[in-house]
Symmetry: C2
Subunit: 321 residues, 2 copies
């Protein structure tokens, strides 16, 4: 059984609002298989979908279930990582789901659950060759970041580390879904941009970029918002936690080649009058992931190591003596 | 010599723009002595002042210099903590001063140097009874924070962790000394408030509060800026690094009883429309230090432990296998 505990295939599932992406990693990190399937709605369907996705991967490998070391799941919402309980995953119709327990009961394999952005941060970190502190900034319907410090997810005191999407950067800005005004998410979140655009469509941010290219003034303004909001998020992450690199991922990176130059240009523009900001070289410290990079699934597969120690840092005080 | 290495008196110096505050701590953290003296201007005078302050403390104790375990110094500017080199301490007329080497050569006692805000953060953490992640937010002429994670100073990748004073929160705001517009420091930094007030005086922020109490509209606006800027700094620290507590110190805390209720009220007001912000209970997560709390000197005295390990976290990646 030592082989099962220390090695073996690790499965990672990225459970999103519309699809589940699954990946199987070998001992050496090689990708042994991958699947995609639609996500169901509600507690039972989400649990069933996760079990089915893992089963499909195991079948694809042709491996006995006993050879599977762990199943990790990244999912939106508030997660109690100690118990694998998922709370308030509103896009999935989940109010309170003991997901780890359910998967473990169904398949007999240890299961770990983490917030999807934090899992993606871990996955993005694992793809890098350095161990510097980094942030993963997710530009999707909403905007949030995950921090990796010392190779581990930094959750903070109450799990809100990386929630820079809800920092207000403009008292005159648009009202955010969170109730504040001028949040970073109102500028560069796909949902907020679609609402501000207001013309429907399957891919409103792409439509905004197309219309901006064609000279539409509203679209140019919203494109600028996307760039300046992302720049503000990068600044917030560096000037607070001082990560070396901000890796940008999420749904909007489907448009990466069209938005990357603008984000860098905005970072340089904001720094133009500030020697202090210039010295930080923020435009050189961002990286955009390619579209559909499976970082959340990879990070989920790595959770079995990452969550082995829930509290990543020694709580030792250098006081008195 | 083991006794000297592991125990003994630790001296901490807080070298500020106008004065040096010194403290001597015993093995058990008890305060054995303290001094104050004026700070000199320029490399030679700053070094001489630090040596004189330490000597005065040692004389006060009546102890042989061999019983002094370490001298720690908190000082403004960019610090290379590995070598104890001080760069760009503009308020002290220091461009580049090898302060640790100079003090060590003069007194024969190991010397450690740290940025004053980071030293104060360590001192503030040592006075607390918990080991939760915390930030020390310094409201002085400028605005900056120090982060304590796992009982240690978190510097970040390039030493800019905690520089929330230079996050812009208003594109229409006042121009900051750093060149940006609408930085948090333009709202709640003593220097920026004094410039915006523009009426001179020894204690301009006190004058602003007095005038606001008397109904002066400009003063009411600046008092609101002080509150909302501080609230923005607290939010930035919690929504990025998610510290449990923000301890507020610095020169403006001389006015603590007059500003604490306003800061709390502003945090509640900003959260009024946002269930998300309300759930963070930020107004319950701040603490104002009493005026002249010697946290920077205490933290400086503790540097010999804190800097023993320059890199506080194990750089271990939970990847592949």
């Amino acid at each position: 059984m030592i082989g099962v505990a220390q090695g073996g295939v690790r499965i990672g599932l990225d459970v999103g609002g519309t699809k589940i992406a699954g990946i199987a990693l070998g001992d050496d990190g090689s990708r042994l298989g991958s699947i995609r399937r639609r996500t169901g709605w509600g507690d039972a369907a989400v649990l069933e979908g996760a079990v089915a996705a893992a089963t499909e991967l195991i079948d694809q490998l042709g491996a006995p279930v006993q050879s599977i070391r762990s199943i990790g799941i990244g999912i939106p919402g508030l997660i109690d990582t100690a118990t694998g309980l998922v709370l308030h995953a509103v896009n999935l119709g989940v109010a309170s789901l003991p997901l780890a327990a359910g998967v473990q009961a169904a398949l007999g394999v240890p299961c770990f659950v983490e917030n999807d952005v934090k899992a993606a941060a871990l996955g993005a970190a694992s793809l890098r060759q350095d161990t510097e502190p980094m942030a993963y900034l997710n530009l999707g319907t909403g905007v949030a970041a995950g921090l990796i410090i010392g190779g581990r997810i930094w959750r903070g005191a109450r799990g809100t580390a990386g929630e820079v999407g809800h920092l207000s950067v403009d008292p005159q800005g648009r009202v955010c879904g969170c109730g504040q005004r001028g949040c970073i998410e109102t500028l560069c979140g796909g949902g907020a941009l679609a609402r501000a655009w207001g013309r429907g469509g399957e891919l409103p941010v792409r439509d905004i970029l197309d219309a901006a290219d064609a000279g539409d003034e509203t679209a140019v303004g919203l494109r600028d918002d996307l760039f300046r909001g992302t720049a503000a998020a990068v600044r917030a992450l560096v000037l607070s936690a001082d990560v070396e690199t901000v890796v940008i991922g999420g749904g909007l990176t489907a448009l990466a080649p069209r938005i990357e130059p603008g984000i860098r240009a905005w970072l340089r523009r904001d720094a133009a009058e500030s020697p202090f900001l210039q010295s930080l070289r923020l435009d050189e410290r961002i990286e955009l992931l390619p579209a559909d990079s499976p970082v959340a699934a990879i990070g989920a597969a790595l959770l079995s190591s990452a969550l082995a120690e829930i509290d990543p840092f020694e709580k030792e005080m250098p006081v008195h003596g």
